[in-house]
């Protein structure tokens, strides 16, 4: 699944005193099966760029293409369908639902895939085993460590077997050991041929990248 943007711009609070140009005129290309790394200092617009690429927000200007299909102007329903079928998200703050157990969180995307509870649990458990979470399956996520929560979030992103993985600083909030295990997960995903888009400051993770974009004040300075 290749992704391309043309003159992508995202302005928050447009026209107001607190207007922020989060992404400015970004034109990038992410080919199939590439490991695309987005770098840049805090506040440079990495998260917004990832949100734009993952169709979580609409650009103020510019276009996004999936396989040469302009998807940024698609209706909310169609964009939701693309997210549901093609994309797995890993958020910096995990964005897990604290009232659910680890496996329930991991299997959440399958709820709208007509999958029964037993099947959801089976699929989530399989992935959690691979991520070393076999002893945490029934735990409430609020009782898990930061690293475990991040791995549950990764399991959730992978449970629908999406073609694209978008991860926002996946190793930023975890200890070194967990960061290393997360890097291993991304290596495996890279081998599996997923299209991976990651924003990170983690140099070890950057080494896995095949394509890069550096952001400064919302502008892509280097690809």
């Amino acid at each position: 699944m290749s992704i391309r943007t043309a003159n992508l711009t995202k302005i928050y609070f447009k026209g107001l005193a607190n207007e922020v140009v989060a992404v400015n005129d970004a034109s990038i290309r992410i080919d199939d099966h590439t490991f695309f790394i987005v770098t840049g200092p805090s506040g440079s617009g990495k998260t917004t760029l990832l949100s734009l690429l993952g169709l979580l927000t609409r650009p103020t200007k510019g276009k996004i293409f999936y396989q040469n299909e302009e998807v940024s102007s698609y209706s909310d329903a169609w964009q939701t369908k693309i997210r549901k079928q093609q994309i797995g998200f890993i958020f910096q703050q995990y964005n897990l639902l604290p009232r659910f157990s680890a496996w329930e969180n991991a299997s959440l995307p399958l709820m709208c895939h007509n999958t029964s509870e037993s099947e959801r649990k089976k699929q989530a458990t399989e992935i959690m085993h691979k991520l070393g979470l076999e002893k945490r399956i029934e735990f409430r996520v609020s009782l898990l460590s930061g690293g475990e929560q991040q791995r549950v979030a990764i399991a959730r992103a992978l449970v629908t077997n999406p073609k694209i993985i978008i991860a926002d600083e996946p190793t930023a909030s975890v200890d070194d050991e967990t960061a290393a295990s997360i890097r291993e997960i991304f290596k495996t995903l890279k081998k599996e041929g997923k299209t991976i888009i990651v924003s990170t400051h983690d140099h070890a993770l950057m080494k896995e990248g095949t394509t890069f974009a550096a952001l400064k004040n919302g502008t892509v300075t280097n690809t």
Binding site: Y12, T48, S51, G54, L56, T57, R58, D76, A77, T80, K81, R83, K84, Q85, F89, F91, N95, L97, R99, F100, L108, P109, M111, C112, H113, N114, T115, S116, E117, R156, T160
Partner: protein, 399 residues
């Protein structure tokens, strides 16, 4: 087939999610259920009694003859001369004119109606459920006999052949043998009415044979009732002519006037319920908004999210309404609707104690469920829809 069951699975998943939300946000769920339950209990109690009273009023009117004639003097009802009966019987379509002599007695600190009727001529309407539960009805040649309603018999512990002692206005005792005990659809009559023979009634109330309390006019052809009433009104301007329909309207209006007061309270309560439900349902926390953003990011569509919220509202509304209605039935039937009973029947102590008429109708049940569900639906849907159409990025960031 498999595809259809898989499609159905999605709705089961959403139902489970909705149930989970209800249990997770316990405080909010309990607040909605409790406030709606109490409000619906009051609304239901009032509505069931009000419906019962209206039905009672209509049934009471069915007991009346086609036309009732009363005589007015100086604007007040007085005994009607019997020659009116002769005049009225000459009018076309009149099948018979039957006098009644009746009045009230104060007995055991309550007021009761003693009605003297012509046991042969006076027909008992078929659609009022009049049944003799024991003994027999008044016989024309029996003197000093009475038939009473079953509820009155129960209150006074009367059985057939017992002696009922009634005191006339001179406080002279009159003994009546209880000939029979009847039941009928109108609770008030089974609790209030003592039927005796016309002559005994004349004697008891000291009304001469030339007079009656009122005249019951029966019409051959019911479509001509209005015409007959007009003829009587024209020929006897000093008479009050009450058709059964007019009487029914008057009775329903009388109950309606009382329930009109209650209606005002009912509508205020209804409005409060709607506001409470709306307020509770539409209070969307930051956490809930963020959750919608996460779900959307994970592939839940706007309609999926609305379905979840609708299911939540449906479950909460159904539980609230059902428990509120259940409590109102308990309150009305088993507790006798304390406080509300006085509102609905009046505070006068002189009326006989009688079973509270309660009617649980399909339309009232439907209204009560609608009262619970509609504001919850709207109150849940609008904020859920607003959250669901917000970009997931914005919803998750909470800005």
């Amino acid at each position: 087939m498999k595809n259809r069951s898989r499609r159905f699975q999605e709705h089961i998943n959403f139902l489970n999610y909705a149930m989970d939300s209800i249990f997770t946000y316990k405080a909010r769920s309990i607040a909605i259920v409790f406030s709606l339950m109490i409000a619906l209990m009051v609304l239901g109690s009032i509505a069931f009694i009000s419906d019962g009273l209206t039905k009672e009023a209509e049934s009471s009117a069915n007991f009346a003859p086609d036309i009732t004639i009363q005589y007015l003097q100086a604007g007040r009802q007085v005994a009607i001369p019997m020659e009116y009966a002769q005049q009225i019987s000459q009018i076309s379509y009149v099948s018979k004119v039957v006098p009644r002599v009746w009045g009230y007695i104060y007995y055991h600190n309550r007021i009761y109606t003693v009605m003297g009727i012509d046991a042969v001529k006076m027909p008992i309407p078929k659609d009022i459920g009049f049944v003799m539960v024991s003994g027999k009805f008044l016989q024309p040649n029996d003197n000093q006999t009475a038939v009473v309603g079953n509820y009155l018999a129960k209150v006074f512990d009367l059985e057939t052949n017992d002696i009922l002692v009634l005191y006339d206005q001179s406080q002279q005792p009159h003994n009546f043998t209880v000939n029979g005990i009847f039941s009928m659809d109108v609770n008030l009559y089974t609790s209030d009415l003592i039927l005796i023979n016309l002559n005994d009634s004349r004697n008891f109330f000291n009304v001469s044979a030339e007079e009656a309390t009122d005249l019951c006019v029966y019409v051959e052809d019911q479509t001509q009732t209005r015409y007959v009433a007009q003829q009587i009104a024209q020929s006897s301007p000093d008479a009050r002519v009450l058709t059964r329909e007019a009487l029914k309207d008057a009775l329903v209006t009388t109950y309606g006037a009382r329930s009109g007061f209650v209606s005002v309270v009912w509508y205020i309560l209804l409005l409060s319920v709607i506001l409470v439900a709306w307020n509770q349902a539409s209070a969307v926390s930051e956490e809930a908004r963020e959750e919608v953003g996460i779900l959307k990011a994970l592939g839940f569509s706007t309609s999926n999210i609305l379905e979840i919220r609708l299911l939540e509202a449906l479950i909460l509304g159904f539980i609230s309404a059902s428990s509120g209605i259940f409590l109102s039935v308990l309150y009305d039937f088993y507790l006798g609707a304390p406080v509300i009973r006085d509102f609905m029947l009046g505070w006068a102590a002189v009326y006989p104690s009688f079973p509270l008429p309660i009617l649980i109708s399909f339309s009232t049940m439907l209204t009560l469920y609608a009262v619970a569900l509609f504001p919850l639906f709207v109150g849940s849907l609008i904020p859920a829809w607003k959250s669901a159409i917000t970009e997931p990025d914005i919803a998750m960031r909470g800005s």
